[in-house]
Symmetry: C2
Subunit: 348 residues, 2 copies
């Protein structure tokens, strides 16, 4: 096959017809190949593949996507915070499941902003993604009901569905927080502070509810409650304040940002308080005492939501609309007031 | 405006003409509005916007994108590892700059795999993204020269350009590693281990080069060199081995995975070695001693690459093809063999 001969058309992009000519096969066969049909004889497949590479042929998405039944083989994920390792873990798990099923995963971040979220939804639908995995933003934008059908399958995760009938995969936020509060009380704490983010975030509201439930269950009144810990730095300030004022004798850190901020505040002051954090996090096991956590299996959440989306694409709708994943209390020492701390030993 | 009246067309999706009728304006005005033209009188803009919302009108991407000059207002980023917080920080910075300039950022991960990377490139080009930000995968796929022009502007980051003439934004990996090795030697280390990932990764090869340069500069021979620390767990094993065998008296951790693995190995054994890590990381300041790092400004790398792409889109090509960002050695104590460790004080 001769590229110059085969090309022959000057500088215009090569067409499917050019590929057919170069490969010495019919246009229809090239069309079937390009559209992913599998019953094409191997020698023809090879010749077409070579011609496509030789000519640099690229299917025109705009033209192709007008055809009914065409899909992009891409699943779109919108999380609320690109920089949070929680969502990195979630996205990574979703990506693995998607790839194994023959889909690429593309991600957007709403940064908790409804407008940005809506634009990302529009782009993904415009691109004809096969399914949407959505973490709804704290500040909602337009209602999903305003979108005109047909929509691709939508699966919500981390926060409840905001579209009727759509499945959602959630963690048992209230249950995990309840356990943490009770455990801190069991270790002698009487004024347990809640350090977390805005209650407008579903997971936060649920964790606060669980914390209050747990305290009520053991006969304690709520300790200081802060919703101002949006970032690690803000959490550091909140916990520094609690330490300075002696306002609490234990801390429930309601997410990984709050926990990291608390660790910084401990380091700043040289003091610490017994603490349990919601969400496991990278630093938890390399500090002393090790940090006890309510662990939600965020990788499983990402994987499961993706599996549900793929099952819907394969024609098997999910059995239930809402899947609530249990959490696990992992006790490592930080829940105790007198946990032994370890002096790093030096090489001789 | 009456939705039922305005719709009037049964169940077919609303057209631009329906919007024009409902808004009481000409079709041409709706078309100009939908295509982002700004010189439309405010009252008309409001009526059109209301009609679009009322009818649930959605522009047909497939039809729109055939028009010359149409762009998606999306910038595509392909990194090599979704789960690595390094790339989360990079993506977050890119996203902020893009959003401020009116673009959404969409991200894919190649997971260091050429095939997956190439598919992601194809999808992004098919979607008519305005620009591509690319971290080339360790295992390269097809050559960029095989892609038929026109391509959107491509900016490479973290690793050098693999497309002639394309700009790249890199960190001074060799320079930073050299400084780290010299600093460890200055603190008395004589057998400095290199703990890192595969040399097929450009940044790793550069860091090894810098480490060797630094040692040569202070008259030391290389210590044990490991390229097997692909993950945190593998790094933990490598460092545990070094501790057990007494094979090194200091560690240069060549990325954040290696550093976290080393911290786990220290915690496992109760011992530690003087260490400097390449890349700052979340846990570095909450352990004792605090971990000294070669800090590359990864947020700046993400922001700068995005700014370069946007400048190209605005018609101002970059002045130089390659921008090398300096690194900063941040000394926090872990570089010394006798760094004081701090016993957490307990609340009385």
């Amino acid at each position: 096959m001769n590229a110059e001969l085969a090309r022959g058309a000057g500088d215009r992009p090569p067409t499917m017809r050019d590929v057919a000519t170069a490969a010495g096969v019919g246009l229809k066969t090239v069309s079937r190949y390009v559209n992913g049909e599998t019953n094409i004889a191997d020698p023809l497949r090879v010749r077409i593949a070579e011609a496509i590479e030789l000519l640099g042929y690229r299917r025109n998405l705009a033209a192709a996507s007008i055809r009914p039944g065409w899909t992009s083989k891409v699943i779109g994920l919108i999380t609320s915070d690109l920089a949070n390792p929680y969502y990195s873990t979630l996205a990574h798990a979703a990506e693995s499941v998607a790839w194994q099923a023959g889909y690429l995963l593309t991600t957007f971040s709403s940064e908790e902003d409804g407008e940005r979220h809506d634009l990302a939804v529009d782009r993904l639908i415009d691109q004809r993604v096969d399914a949407l995995l959505i973490v709804p933003p704290r500040n909602p934008g337009r209602a999903w009901s305003q979108l005109r059908p047909p929509l691709p399958p939508v699966v919500f995760l981390d926060r409840p569905a905001v579209l009727d009938g759509a499945p959602a995969v959630l963690a048992d936020n209230a249950g995990g927080a309840r356990e943490a509060a009770i455990e801190l009380a069991r270790n002698g704490a009487r004024r347990i502070a809640f350090v977390g983010d805005s209650q407008q975030i579903y997971t936060m509201a649920e964790r606060l509810r669980g914390y209050l439930d747990g305290l009520a269950q053991v006969g304690l009144t709520p300790g200081p409650i802060s919703h101002a810990a949006h970032s690690q730095e803000e959490a550091r300030g909140v916990v520094s304040g609690l330490l300075a004022e002696g306002a609490a004798d234990a801390i429930f850190a309601a997410n990984n940002r709050a926990a990291m901020g608390a660790l910084h505040a401990f380091a700043d002051s040289g003091g610490r308080l017994p603490m349990i954090a919601f969400d496991d996090f990278e630093a938890a096991e390399v500090v002393r005492p090790r940090i006890s956590v309510v662990s939600q299996d965020v990788a499983r959440m990402g994987a499961l939501a993706t599996e549900i989306a793929i099952r819907i694409l394969q024609g098997t709708p999910p059995v239930s609309d809402r899947t609530v994943l249990g959490t696990r209390l992992i006790l490592r020492g930080s829940e105790k007031p007198d946990s032994p701390t370890i002096l790093d030993r030096l090489p001789e």
